[in-house]
Amino acid sequence: MHEFSIMQSTLDLAEHQTRMAGATQIHRLKVRIGSLSGVVPDALQFAFVALKEKTLAAGAAFEIESVPAAGWCEDCAADFPVEGLVYECPLCRQPSGQLRRGKEMELASLEIS
């Protein structure tokens, strides 16, 4: 259940940014979560509902943008989708553990007033 501490960090960051922008309310909070970030979207959603009270985001809509993992093949200089956990370049069939995307845990945007 580390989603609770991740959501607490998200709300702290969101409130800080909202106050810095001179606003008092968050209407929409959008996060970006990679498929290899170790974060379970449902658990994050649950943590948002549990923690949003008494924050500037109490009335906010919560949105998760999922980022599917993508690998990087150096030989082919190309991205490839990591599907079914196979870290293998589909062009040259070489395994590669280098990640291009998939570990994201970001506060993407805030709608505020």
Binding site: M1, H2, S5, I6, S9, T10, D12, L13, Q17, T18, A21, A23, Q25, H27, R28, V31, R32, L36, S37, G38, V39, G59, L85, V86, Y87, P95, S96, G97, Q98, L99, M105, E106, L107, A108, S109, L110, E111, I112, S113
Partner: protein, 268 residues
């Protein structure tokens, strides 16, 4: 009713965002006359909404402290391990064996995280190494800030290696960088062969995967080839070692690796 959550003392609540005890838009006098009044007022509540595009790392706070830890390790030429596995995979047994084996080769300090008890720390202290126990309370993982606090209590200049034994958990600790130079994930033969497939973020984050309890492989019906294939699938970049802390088989190769990695770190 329970004592903890406050359900015995319900507070004000709202329906559709409106408080229940709202002021009515009429009032009744003692003689029975009813006056209606409106609640309108003459300014608009429509404030303009703005969108802030941030793309900020949520774990930025943890990551900054992790980088500070990493900087401290690097400046002192310290090798730092973050050791992870499910509970009962043999982290403490392996570390006890490792500390004994490394005596005279690497000066080692240990930070060990658990929700409660200092049982692991007590076991590790039998080796004579300095050991600090972090009791996380209810937290299922170590965070960089906890490690930073613990590091203040170790004589880092007297050490070559810091081993951080994380909370036994294959999910949450994967997301928290502690500033380690090497992430080590254990997979015991008694856990079957598909842990890497069930917990891909953890295994993908590993620099080294150690298959432990190899002395029990036959009894556990462990399919070694399948397990190694699964590890390679989720962590193609990771170095794979196999050992038994009980018999000592494979311990030397593991300790030699630590010695050579530490020797490769130049003091700045």
């Amino acid at each position: 009713m329970c004592q903890e959550c406050g359900c015995s003392k319900p507070g004000p609540y709202t329906i559709d965002g409106r408080p229940i005890e709202s002021h009515p838009d009429y009032h009744t006098h003692a003689d029975g006359k009813v006056h209606a009044h409106a609640h309108d007022h003459d300014h608009s509540h429509a404030h303009p909404h703005r969108v802030l595009q941030l793309n900020s790392a949520i774990m930025g706070g943890n990551d900054r402290v992790a980088e500070q830890n990493r900087g401290a390790f690097k400046a002192l030429g310290l090798l730092a391990l973050n050791v992870l596995s499910s509970p009962g995979s043999g982290k403490t047994t392996l570390l006890t064996k490792t500390l004994n084996e490394l005596k005279g080769r690497l000066r080692t300090g240990v930070i060990v995280g658990d929700l409660a008890t200092d049982n692991d720390a007590a076991r590790l202290r039998t080796t004579g190494a300095p050991v600090l126990q972090i009791a996380t309370g209810t937290l299922c993982h170590l965070e960089a800030g906890m490690v930073a606090e613990a590091l203040k209590k170790l004589e880092l200049r007297q050490l070559d290696l810091v081993i951080i034994e994380n909370v036994g958990n294959l999910v949450c600790p994967a997301s928290f960088d502690l500033g380690e130079s090497l992430r080590v994930v254990l997979h015991s033969v008694t856990e079957g062969e598909d842990k890497p497939l069930k917990y891909p973020p953890m295994f993908h984050s590993a620099d080294v995967v150690i298959v432990t309890k190899t002395d029990m492989a036959v009894a556990a019906g462990f399919d070694r080839e399948l397990a190694l294939t699964n590890i390679r699938k989720t962590a193609p970049h990771a170095r794979i070692l196999e050992l038994s802390a009980k018999t000592g088989d494979g311990i030397k190769a593991w300790c030699d690796l630590l010695v050579s990695l530490q020797a490769g770190l130049a003091k700045t």
